[in-house]
Symmetry: C2
Subunit: 447 residues, 2 copies
């Protein structure tokens, strides 16, 4: 095994990341709310010695019911159930800083970290879209910059709450009748722009200190936020050059923020479509594209690009006069990636929808297990990735195929662990230190 | 078995409901954050064919660390973990309507209901105390009546969200590429005094429709709320006469609210302290009282009674001029119960603390298994209870003793089921119907 360790995260999404996956004969249209489906996926990922699994989320019903599976079990609930069904794998839940209270959310992650023996991770999102805002009493979505300002304060308060008990605050002296040491409690007494939080958390400090902090926005605000807080970053990159540029930029920003660049792991997403030959892989990809309802894709693309309904024609191209990313308040980096992909490869709207159907902007790669392993190794060794966010087009079969056929190749090349070994926390799996308590040391590593 | 079924709920609280329980040699001072401790308790309760187990909660750190175990795993997280470790027992979590958003909380309960196969219950609380308020950006606790007005709107919105998918909204037509039927989606589009919630929940309708709704406040506002929404009520009652009066009042209010009085189950709390003889039970009770640190109890009593620190003396009595319940903004019914207990039995402050140490106002009953069963049978058959909230003074031993020794007596008398039989939802265990979807029927049973 090389000294540098490849990290794999399984990004789970009901019947798979391809929007048409639910239509395949093998797929269960109710999988998105079946605990058994997710238990099965988690166990497959553990067979593949993945570092972690991950669930995306937004507090709203996306799109409409006709087009494809909608809704999802609340991620922290589902991950708590998976914690008891697994032993080693990390459990990363998405949760929004715009539509939660720090006290409640910090407590829930602390509780999951305890229940899972130190395997909790938080994918921190600010949640784009007016639909979510309108489920929480707001007429419109807060501006992008404001969402990130709130997120930063949310993190500061959460870190204070997670540190509000020193590790040895519980004494348990039965004879003296003294259970804990109140001098080792540090109520935040936080008064800020977005939050006032006075008291200590009602959960002791957890195995990891706090959950692994993950971030996935690649906009300017997103990168600044990641440099300051994130320990792992999920990103969508279409080319090696773009991925290298992103990687170098993020490491350099992290250094500039006074942190060790090794302490942020960069994981691009990849949608592997496997076949025992290249032709077989392409056929599998084609089968999925054949199941896309292109008319549905047009509406979603118009929504992403913030165009009026009816603007796009399937066999036309994107308008030449799309606004710049800076004018977009939603998912900024996804916007730019899609526009650039269409222009670089001169795709029609239909072709673009086909390309996005598999990974919504993430790199789809159809090939043999060796080819997929080559791709992973290249990006890993050439400064584009510390690991990968594996996003199978179809679940569970795509994850099963990856673990069955690609994982052995990666192990054979000394890139991936062959077994978990002793139980470890998620942060230890990612080669990160347990954070010091900010109330004990003058300069904690993370803030 | 009599036609009327006795319902038992296990109220779990770290090392037990007696404040000194953690000091006994058998107790683990870290039990409150040990998943294994709670799994063990849940399995004992399932051996005793309890209907449900229950966790109290408040989003704040109660009291201080020196006096007794403080903090707790977040209840919905803990119950989700217990869902996978149990098969039949209902899982009731406390959550606050004052410090949550309806969209998030409704979704979490829906997710637990799905993951547990229809075993979720929600103990709806408005959360007394300024400490909690100050963890959520408020300077002071909202007034009692305002908390209940918000709670009512919170429930109305939650019911809309839980009904926002009809049961058969998922179609799963792979050939046609139609996953769901959008005509069977009913976004709340709610605009009220406290909440605006536009969109449908992002979780389909659950096995129970929605969680069993539980309520535990016995104030005027609390009773009115229970009559309108609750399907089970936890209550603290010290005498048969008081319990009968409460029972009759709540059933009559429920009828007046247009609901079937059979559809709200009343469960007083009882702290059984068991011995194989009466003397042994009294000795067990005395052992616990000997471990109370009375000086700590004075401060807590002053806080409950809203008296300045230093007002009470251990060997004195309560002041004669305490304000009426109507002047109290905190836990109103608990206030009255404690004041009346002290006056009725002419207790000194020390004696009152001893009495409250076991059950914080709930009925402590020390005796043989037969005597405890007699007490339960009397209240059950004489119009004071539909079941009991069992609150062992010491855990796990007190729950183990109850299941080992009292449950067989109750079964022998035909009061309690001898086995669970086929899997059922929590609502079915309590003899309640699955609620109709409000968007389908003109007059749903519950609202």
């Amino acid at each position: 095994m090389s000294t540098r360790e490849l990290h794999l995260n399984a990004f789970l999404m009901n019947t798979g990341h391809h929007e048409a996956s639910w239509r395949l004969p093998e797929s269960d249209p109710y999988a998105h709310v079946e605990l058994g489906h997710y238990v099965r996926l988690a166990k497959i990922a553990e067979r593949g010695t993945f570092d972690s699994l991950f669930l995306a989320d937004s507090p709203q019903l996306w799109g409409n019911l006709a087009q494809r599976p909608a809704g999802a079990l609340e991620p922290l609930t589902l991950l708590t159930a998976l914690a008891t069904a697994t032993e080693h794998i990390g459990l990363i839940a998405t949760a929004s800083t715009s539509y939660n209270s720090p006290y409640n959310l910090a407590r829930r992650f602390a509780s999951l970290d305890i229940v899972s023996g130190g395997r909790a991770g938080w994918n921190i999102v600010t949640t784009a879209g007016a639909e979510a805002a309108r489920n929480f009493g707001l007429a419109a979505e807060p501006a992008h910059a404001e969402r990130y300002a709130r997120a930063a304060e949310f993190l500061d308060v959460s870190l204070k709450l997670w540190d509000s008990w020193e590790d040895d605050a519980i004494v348990g002296d039965k004879a003296a009748g003294v259970w804990g040491d109140d001098r080792k409690l540090h109520p935040p007494r936080h008064e800020g722009t977005y939050f006032s939080v006075e008291g200590a958390l009602n959960v002791p400090r957890t195995p990891q200190g706090y959950p692994l902090l993950v971030q996935a926005g690649s906009s300017e605000d997103g990168r600044a936020f990641a440099a300051r807080y994130a320990e792992a970053v999920f990103t969508a990159q279409q080319t090696l050059a773009d991925a290298q540029a992103f990687y170098a930029d993020l490491k350099s920003r992290t250094r500039a923020a006074g942190r060790d660049p090794e302490h942020v792991k960069v994981l691009p997403g990849i949608v592997p479509v496997l076949g025992s030959t290249e032709a077989e892989a392409r056929a599998a990809e084609q089968l999925l594209e054949d199941h896309i309802v292109y008319e549905h894709g047009v509406g979603r693309l118009e929504s992403l690009l913030q165009l009026p309904a009816g603007t796009l024609r399937l066999d036309g191209r994107l308008p030449a006069d799309l606004p710049p990313e800076s004018a977009v308040e939603g998912a900024k980096s996804r916007y730019t990636l899609v526009v650039e992909l269409a222009r670089r490869e001169r795709l029609t709207v239909r072709q673009l929808i086909g390309r996005l159907g598999g990974g919504r902007g993430h790199l789809t790669f159809a090939g043999t297990p060796e080819q997929v392993a080559d791709q992973i190794e290249t990006w890993f060794t050439r400064g584009a990735a510390d690991g990968f966010n594996i996003m199978p087009a179809v679940l569970p079969s795509g994850l099963e195929a990856f673990v069955e056929h690609v994982v052995p190749v990666l192990r054979g090349r000394g890139l991936l662990r062959t077994e978990y070994g002793p139980r470890r926390t998620l942060r230890e799996r990612y080669g990160l230190p347990r954070p010091a308590n900010q109330y004990l040391t003058p300069a904690p590593a993370l803030v």
